[in-house]
């Protein structure tokens, strides 16, 4: 394995670990609850995954990594932009969940559940970029948590 590949190989294990953590945390505190409770749990766990993707981007797009593989620059730019968009989408989702919990209105709950989709979509776009660089990022095990039951 070349020096450039070593961090990527290690990142595969780290993302797998995060995937396990995500599924464990989701099921331990959210299984059997209402759709709104599951979506709230998914949002708290999504925060962990988004933090971890920031760490993954910092590893894959580090200065040393870009020195060895300058062709990664475009993919890194896209990943950083998508990560920022994902943080913004998460903030809207979280705000809608808080409103839905306090109002307990069916319309507010439906909106809050629907707002999970953009976050999942942006996560997948970052995961695809990291996969194109040789990092095996797991698919979201909790994507269905945002859907109404």
């Amino acid at each position: 394995m070349s020096p450039a590949k070593a961090p990527l190989g290690g990142a595969m294990g780290a993302f797998a670990l995060i995937g396990i953590l995500v599924s464990w945390a989701t099921c331990s505190s959210g299984c059997g609850a209402t759709a709104l409770d599951r979506s709230t749990t998914a949002a708290t766990v999504a925060k962990v995954a988004i933090d971890a993707t920031a760490g993954g981007i910092e590893v894959v797009c580090s200065e040393a990594s870009l020195n060895e593989a300058p062709e990664r620059l475009t993919a890194c730019e896209r990943a950083i932009d998508s990560h920022e968009a994902m943080r913004a989408a998460w903030a809207v989702w979280a705000a809608a969940l808080v409103v839905a919990h306090s109002e307990e209105d069916e319309g507010a709950i439906a909106i809050a559940l629907a707002l999970a989709a953009p976050v999942f979509g942006l996560y997948e776009s970052i995961a695809d970029m990291l996969r194109s660089l040789g990092v095996d990022v797991p698919a979201l095990p909790w994507a269905e948590a945002g859907e109404p039951s």
Binding site: A11, V48, E77, E84, A94, L97, V98
Partner: protein, 72 residues
């Protein structure tokens, strides 16, 4: 570099990733009894500002080189 040295270097690189996963997971577990507003009060962290600045600077240099190469 030997295999062990590469593995060690990879492990050191991954400290921030694993740290985020572990501390975030523990935090989510600890906060599970809190209200939704409390659990969702703090958003995810951004990508490091130094890395973002470095990528933007490289992009500026790359675009500048492309313009120079085109003779503009």
């Amino acid at each position: 570099m030997s295999g062990w040295a590469q593995a060690l270097a990879a492990a050191v690189d991954l400290v921030p990733v694993v740290s985020a996963g572990v501390t975030g997971g523990l935090s989510a577990w600890r906060d599970r009894k809190k209200s939704p507003a409390e659990r969702l009060a703090e958003g995810p962290r951004p990508v490091g500002a130094a890395l973002v600045a470095m990528v933007k600077e490289r992009r500026r240099q790359r675009d500048g080189a492309a313009v120079d190469g085109a003779g503009v």
